[in-house]
Subunit: 216 residues, 2 copies
């Protein structure tokens, strides 16, 4: 099985292996063996193991983020001067990645979830470069859609939202699957999207005092 280029075979092999066992859990010897390439091929084509990971992440996430930004642009154009309703905004944010990744056997979200928490500078650099633009774009829109929140509240709740999404998508959900012993929590992506949209929308709508103990 060597119908494709060495680069493509390396990317495919690395994607499935990293997704299964994590970045640090896979050796480039395993990758090159599965891809039927030489040990040095990774460094030749991608510069390093981290470079290979960055390439495969961008291959998957790049188009997805382009799609999300295009949909947000369209929705904002249609709304004119009006800010988007929070649930519409969140639906745009969640739909593309969940539809794309929420399939049986798709393990890349697990890898992404782990990368979001990885402190090594090489990994941080990749994650920031891939997700920074889309995060900025949605935070700005969210700020317009939820003007009742202080900046600290907005960022905090955006963290809650990101945590909920990342967690829900990484099917491994190691604890969850161990906890629930195989009872899948939700297998229809459309249902998961809607649950997540509703859950977070309510959270963003809430208007709470933003500091200190004070009576209502």
């Amino acid at each position: 099985m060597k119908p494709t280029s060495t680069q493509a075979r390396l990317l495919d092999a690395a994607e499935s292996l990293f997704s299964e066992r994590g970045f640090k859990g896979i050796s480039i010897r395993e990758i090159t063996e599965k891809a039927e390439a030489n040990l040095a091929a990774v460094n030749y084509h991608f510069g390093s193991k981290a470079g290979l990971m960055k390439a495969l992440i961008e291959r998957q996430i790049g188009p997805l983020n382009q799609l999300r930004i295009a949909e947000l642009d369209a929705a904002e154009a249609a709304a004119g001067d009006q800010p988007l309703a929070i649930d519409n905004l969140l639906r745009i944010f969640f739909t593309a990645p969940i539809r794309h990744f929420h399939k049986p056997g798709q393990k890349l979200p697990n890898l992404l979830a782990r990368l979001h928490q990885d402190p090594s500078p090489e990994v941080v650099e990749v994650v920031v470069s891939v997700f920074q633009p889309i995060a900025d774009r949605f935070l700005t829109a969210l700020h317009r859609s939820a003007p009742h929140l202080s900046e600290a509240q907005l960022i905090t709740r955006a963290m809650f939202m990101k945590g909920a999404m990342v967690h829900a998508m990484s099917d491994g959900l190691v604890l969850a699957s161990a906890m629930t012993e195989g009872r899948v929590s939700m297998d229809d992506p459309e249902e998961l999207i809607e649950e997540l949209v509703q859950f977070c929308t309510e959270g963003f709508r809430l208007h709470t005092p933003n500091s200190g103990p004070q009576a209502e």
Copy 2:
């Protein structure tokens, strides 16, 4: 600096090093060097690198979970037959760990967040053994407090909740800090607890149809 036992020095050194750079990111040699112990000390006292991590996690999390379960027991006893209000239940769940960990320089939550996503069997075993009991306990209570939700909805939203909490606690929040460039989202733990309680309470209260597209 060798006032304490070798075991204690190893635990302290490993905790700070793992928290900074992750489980796989730190070598036994670095740990034993910082602890002024011999390379083989880790394997002698803890059996393996994973055994050392398990010991330090249990040292920190064990008492915290005991406290949470005691508080839940007390609240349920006080409520008699009545299920607890969702916000009270969540407040008990969040308060102890956030008060304990939400301090400047405290990086253990970052490690815990990463461990929750780590696929290696050795790590999964530790995480499950430490968090399974408390997860079961709270899921049961949550089921009583939110009887309007199907089991799939309950588990799904519990995942959202866990994701939000874990994400909010791991201050690194690599993306967040990069995204917001140092603007701390929320430094008062009590404020963070209350934001998280309110955010998730609204999410659990929601009553949505639990399958298929159907008009309201």
